[in-house]
C-alpha cells in the first residue's frame, strides 16, 4: 500500500514534538549542513545518528530512504571527482578530465552533505504524520498572508492533493486493467508504442479527475467551505520539549563554529 513520506507511527519524543519545531530544525540543519567542512559534517553525522534511537525509527528505514537517491548521489560524486582541477592521483594521467585529490575530497564532501540532508529530512517525514506536516506548513507559510495569499488555502490544497494520491493510483490501476482486458499492452514495444499506450491511460484519467473535481467542489460547498475564516481541530502548542529540541539543534548547528573559533584563538595565542 502506498504510504506518503513513509510516516512510521510511534510515541517517541521526536514524534511528540510540534511539527513546526521539526520543520524549523530541518531547515536550520540543512543550512549549516550545506556549508559544512569535514569536521563539521562529522559532528552533524554523530548528532543525527544519535537521534535514531531517540526517534525509535529502525535504522534500516533511513537506508531505504536513501536508496532512491543513490543514483543521484553517485552522479554528484562522479562529477566532482572528474571535473575538479588539481593534482591527479598517480595512476590517472594528467589530462583535462581526470581523477584528482581535490576532486576526491570535494566529491566525498558534497555527497556526504547530501546524504546528511536527506537523512535530516527523513527524520521529519518519518516522525510526522502528513496531516501534522500540512498543519506545520500552514504556519510556516503565514507570511504569505501579507501578500493576500491565504496560507490556509494553500495548506488545504496540499492536503487535498495528498488525500487523492492513493485514489488516483487506484484509478490508474483500474484503467490499466480495463485497457489490458481490451488488448492494450503497457511496457512493451518501441518508444512510440509506449508513448501511445500512456496516452490511452492519461486521457481517461484526466477525464475522470475533472469529473471528480466537480463532485468535490459541490461536496465542499455543501459542507460550508467558503472564503471566510476557517478553524481546525488541531491546536499547535509549543511545549517544554519543543524548546529543548530547538535548543539542542541550535547548539549542534553552532558547535562547529564555536570549536573553530576556539581553535583559532588558541593558535593565535
Amino acid at each position: 500500500m502506498y504510504a506518503l513520506g513513509q510516516f512510521i507511527p510511534s510515541d517517541s519524543l521526536i514524534h511528540g514534538l510540534d511539527p513546526r519545531t521539526k520543520a524549523l530544525s530541518v531547515i536550520l540543519l540543512s543550512l549549516v549542513i550545506l556549508n559544512s567542512q569535514p569536521a563539521a559534517a562529522a559532528i552533524f553525522t554523530l548528532f543525527l545518528l544519535s537521534l535514531i534511537p531517540v526517534s525509535r525509527i529502525p535504522a534500516g528505514a533511513f537506508l531505504r530512504a536513501l536508496k532512491p537517491a543513490l543514483p543521484f548521489l553517485l552522479l554528484l560524486f562522479g562529477i566532482h571527482l572528474l571535473f575538479t582541477g588539481g593534482a591527479p592521483i598517480p595512476p590517472f594521467p594528467d589530462w583535462r578530465i581526470t581523477v584528482t585529490y581535490q576532486g576526491l575530497h570535494k566529491g566525498t564532501l558534497v555527497t556526504w552533505r547530501f546524504a546528511l540532508l536527506l537523512m535530516s529530512a527523513s527524520f521529519l517525514t518519518f516522525t510526522t504524520s502528513p496531516s501534522e506536516l500540512v498543519c506545520g506548513l500552514e504556519w510556516l507559510l503565514r507570511p504569505l498572508n501579507i501578500l493576500g495569499i491565504s496560507s490556509r488555502d494553500v495548506a488545504f490544497m496540499v492536503s487535498l492533493a495528498l488525500r487523492f494520491v492513493p485514489t488516483l493510483l487506484e484509478e490508474i490501476r483500474m484503467i490499466r486493467e480495463a485497457q489490458m482486458a481490451r488488448g492494450a499492452s503497457f511496457g512493451t514495444g518501441g518508444l512510440r508504442k509506449r508513448t501511445r499506450s500512456i496516452l490511452f491511460l492519461l486521457t481517461p484519467l484526466l477525464n475522470n479527475s475533472i469529473q471528480r473535481a466537480e463532485d468535490l467542489a459541490l461536496a465542499m460547498e455543501s459542507r460550508g467551505y467558503g472564503r471566510g475564516a476557517r478553524t481546525s481541530m488541531r491546536e499547535l502548542k509549543l511545549g517544554y520539549n519543543d524548546f529543548l529540541a530547538l535548543g539542542a539543534v541550535i547548539l549542534c548547528s553552532g558547535l562547529p563554529f564555536l570549536l573553530k573559533g576556539l581553535l583559532d584563538s588558541l593558535h593565535a595565542g
Partner: protein, 282 residues
Amino acid sequence: MITIKDLVFAYDKGKEPVLRGIDLQIEDGSYVALVGPNGCGKTTLLRHLNGLLLPTRGTVLVDGLDTRDPKSLEKIRQRVGMIFQNPDNQIVGMTVEEDVAFGPGNLGLAPAEIRRRVRRSLETVGMVSYAQSPPHALSGGEKRLVAIAGVLAMDPCHIALDEPTSFLDPGGRRRVLGTIKTLNEQGLTVIHVSHDMNEITGADRVLVMDQGRIVLEGTPREVFSRLEQLRDLGLDVPVVTDLFWRLRRTGVDVPPGVLSVKDACWALSALIPHPREGQKES
C-alpha cells in the same frame, strides 16, 4: 420544515426544464423516500434542498429560509446535510477525523468544540476506531458512514442522501441503512433517494418522480399497491409485494400492499387453519 412551491428548473435558459413544477412539503423528523427512473430529476431536486442549485421559477424554503437569498445559504447548508452518490468524491481529509472536522471547521468553531463534535459524530455512525485511518483504506460502506459523520458534525436538522447504498455489499448496506434509521429516530428529517424499493418500505412517505414531476405519492403501502403504474415507469416493487400481488391475482385471499416479510408471515399464517383447532375437530 422544507417547503417547495411550484419549482421549475432548467440547467440552461430556453432548454427543456429538468424539474417541471414541484410542490412538496417535508415535515420535520419525517422519513421521505424519493424514487424514480434514471434521469427523472431526483438528484436535481435533491440539490435544490441546500441551494447547490437555485430554482429557475418557484421557491424552496428551508425552515423559512429562501435558498435564493445568498445571506441565508450558510445557514441552510448547516441545516441540510447532503450525502452524495460517490463517497470517494466528498471525503476531503487525509484521515477520517480530519474529514469529519472539515464541516465544523468551515463554521469557524473552536478546536475543542470541533474535536467534541468529531468524536460524537464518529460514535453515532460507529467509526470511532477508524479516526486515524486514511480514507482510501476504508470499505465502500465505511466511506459512506464517514461521509454521513462529516455531515452530522455540522449539527444538521435534515439530511438528504443520494443513493447511499449503491455499490455496497449486503453487510455495508445494512450498516448504512441502520444508521439512517437511527438518525431518523433521533429526530432528523431524512430525504432518501433510492433505486431499491426493498430498502424504503420503512419510510413515512414515498414520492415517485417521472420526467421532472412527482407522479405518485403516499405511504409505502399506498404507493406499492399501484404496481402496474410503477412497472410502466420502469420501477419495481419489493419482492414480497410482488409475490402477494400475484397470489391475489390467482384468487388467493391475501390483503393488498404487503411490504415486509413480517407482514407476509402474518398474512400467510392467517390462511392456514390453526392446527390446534383442527385437532379439536377430529
